[in-house]
């Protein structure tokens, strides 16, 4: 259920519900905003790399691409912070460009 706008919110009007909407996230992010953490945080980097590559074994290029997309969506939802995700998108895009 999306925060504040779930399917149990009365469709006809954005403001009014007789029951408060279910909130799975706080409605307003606490200040200061958190940022993308790019410090080394993985206890076993080799194992993570192997797990990602293993996940794609036997998949066609299309299926492989969808797996990555599902993975991104699951992780993005877990992070749940649009600002952090935007920083990650920018960082990923920049790292692929010529230095």
């Amino acid at each position: 259920m999306r925060a504040g706008g779930g399917l149990n919110t009365w469709i006809g009007h954005p403001f009014v519900t007789d029951t408060p909407p279910v909130r799975s996230l706080p409605p307003v992010r606490a200040q200061p905003m958190s940022h993308l953490d790019t410090s080394a945080r993985l206890a076993d980097p080799d194992a993570l790399f192997a797990a990602l590559v293993d996940a794609h074994r036997g998949l066609s290029p299309d299926a492989s691409r969808r797996l990555d997309a599902r993975l991104v969506l699951l992780l993005a939802n877990h992070i749940g912070d649009a600002g952090v995700i935007a920083e990650a998108i920018a960082a990923a895009r920049a790292a692929g460009e010529d230095p």
């Binding site: 403001f15 007789d18 991104v72 939802n77």
Partner: protein, 567 residues
């Protein structure tokens, strides 16, 4: 077997040349007829020109949202539409051969009208024509085609062609409601801003006796229509709307062949369902608008001003809201109650509202028709996740259904001067609630409507003040006061379910001022006649001593976040 008999309206006789009229509406579709009826109810005489001789060809805009029904209720047509229409609250999204999820809009109790009904556009227009005639104020001129327009500072001159020859007339005010291929727009040489989508869709209205429930069903890539999407909606008279995505390479003429359409429908419904095809249309769409909707004495409404994809029911419903927004303003200007500058607020309010429609419609289209391999991978990934995980259902976008505009940044709003624990901020449209008056069951929105006795009986632009207090005999000169109390009292609405107070977050002593279109103009914790008069002046653009207080952009964003819902 046609389920509906199209009326044929005789051509209006050619009138004398050179007449002048306060309001001329060009286009007798849903938006033009609604505009004529709204103005007639406000006491304005209207001439309506339409080049055709009948109502909407085909069912076209079928999904009517709650706010549109409330507007039509004010115009005396809401109950009739509700009774004829199919009320629906449930939807189902399918991907390939599986149901991804089902949803229920779970409507609250205590509203006069449901979230949505489906009703063919020809019925809506049919009812509107009869209602326009009944007012005696609408001069419906069928088979009168606008040939040329000469804009002038005091109102455009139109050259009109009829079967009996041409004539000229002058309009003090011209409402262009002549659709996506607007003659008025072309005559003024105005361009649209926005984008065209490279995709084609096929609409088939089929008649069948199958008693499927009234559920909106949306398929992504079903086995019976490889690679495309399909939408199924139930309409009255056993008519079902089926919408097939065809792709940009499809040949419209080939796809309109009834045998070919029959084969597509048969593949979808299976061999045991008997059906007949009633209407076929192949279309592309655009998400775009005019830069401005007001051009001096010429105002654009509906598809003539802005266009969206059909996913989300944001075309017809936006047009009805355009009318609702403009009608009282124009009537107030014509009655000398407001300066012409009030009409600039039509742009200030309806351009952001329609941009929201365009944004939602564009995003839905991008989900339904992925434009790149990456977009398709993410789209399919969302659908694959949505069958298992709630969070991914919020990402499925098969159309975000029309909601009324909030007009949050409108210059007509009087900003709150104190904190409110929720409720409806200035700009928001009124929300309904059950009330009792003199022991009779009723609805708050009906009580906040004009023309309770008959068309024009209530003046052009009635403002109403809702006071959460027992009647105290205070009468305001230009505002009708409606008292609401938690216990039954003579002369007050009885909020017997407590829903008026709850939905408006109102405490005893509070007061809320409504504009003639039932949007909130201002609200106070304390009743002060001078503040009410100032807010009314502001909503009529009479006095602007100060610019509106700076808004916090983050607030506005917060109000819009998550306000769209999957349908």
């Amino acid at each position: 077997m046609a389920t509906y008999r199209y009326p044929r309206y005789p051509a209006a006789p050619r009138p004398a040349d050179g007449a002048r009229h306060p309001v001329v509406v060009v286009g007798g579709g849903m938006v033009g007829l609604t505009a004529a009826l709204d103005l007639a109810h406000r006491g304005v005489e209207v001439v309506l020109l339409d080049e055709d001789d009948t109502v909407s060809s085909g069912s076209r805009a079928i999904c009517m949202a709650k706010r549109s029904l409330e507007i039509f209720d004010r115009l005396g047509l809401g109950r009739r539409m509700l009774e004829k229409g199919v009320t629906w609250n449930q939807g189902e999204v399918l991907f390939r051969d599986r149901t991804v999820y089902r949803f229920d809009l779970l409507p609250e109790e205590g509203h006069h009208y449901p979230a949505f009904i489906n009703l063919q556009q020809y019925y809506v227009e049919d009812y509107l024509v009869a209602a326009c005639r009944a007012t005696g104020r609408v001069d419906l001129r069928w088979q009168h085609r606008v040939g040329a327009i000469e804009p002038r500072a005091d109102g455009p001159v139109l050259a009109v062609e009829t079967p009996q020859g041409g004539y000229r007339l002058t309009a003090d005010w011209l409402l262009a409601c002549d659709g996506a291929r607007s003659t008025v727009r072309a005559a003024l040489g105005l361009d649209f801003l926005g984008q065209v989508f490279h995709d084609r869709f096929l609409i088939a209205d089929v008649v069948m006796e199958a008693e499927f429930p009234p559920v909106r069903r949306f398929w992504f890539e079903p086995p019976f229509h490889a690679g495309g999407s399909v939408l199924l909606h139930r309409q009255p008279d056993h008519v079902w709307r089926i919408d097939f995505q065809l792709g940009w390479d499809a040949d419209p003429d080939v796809e309109k062949d009834p045998d070919r359409v029959r084969a597509r429908v048969a593949a979808m419904l299976g061999p045991d369902v008997r059906f007949e095809i009633e209407w076929i249309s192949v279309y592309t769409f655009r998400c775009r608008r005019l830069e401005r909707f007001r051009h001096g004495r010429i105002l654009f409404l509906g598809d003539a001003a802005h266009q969206v994809s059909p996913f989300g029911a944001r075309g017809g419903n936006a047009g009805v809201q355009d009318v609702d927004n403009l009608g009282w303003k124009l009537a107030a200007v014509l009655a000398g109650q407001a300066p012409e500058a009030l009409l600039d607020s039509y742009d200030a309010e309806r351009i952001p509202a329609n941009d929201e429609n365009i944004l939602n419609s564009t995003r839905s289209t991008d989900f339904i028709t992925p434009k790149s391999a990456a977009a398709r991978a993410y789209r399919d990934a969302v659908l694959e996740l949505a069958g298992r995980y709630d969070f991914a259902r919020g990402l499925v976008n098969s159309g975000r259904l029309s909601r009324p505009a909030l007009l949050a940044g409108s210059p007509l709003n009087m900003q709150d001067d104190a904190a409110w624990p929720g409720g409806l901020p200035p700009g928001a449209p009124a929300v309904d609630a059950p009330v009792r008056e003199d022991g009779q069951e009723g609805w708050l929105l009906t009580r906040l409507s004009h023309a309770r006795v008959g068309p024009g009986s209530d003046g052009p632009a009635p403002f109403r003040l809702l006071r959460f207090a027992p009647p105290d005999g205070v009468i305001l000169p230009d505002v009708e006061t409606v008292f609401v109390t938690p216990a039954a009292e003579p002369g007050a609405l009885h909020d017997h379910a407590g829903l008026v107070a709850r939905r408006y977050a109102a405490a005893p002593g509070d007061a809320i001022l409504f504009r003639p279109d039932q949007h909130v103009a201002a609200r106070w914790h304390r009743f002060d006649p001078a503040a009410v008069a100032a807010a009314r002046d502001r909503a009529l653009a009479r006095a602007r001593p100060h610019a509106p207080p700076a808004r916090q952009p983050s607030d506005e964003k917060g109000q819009h976040a998550g306000t769209t819902s999957e349908l």
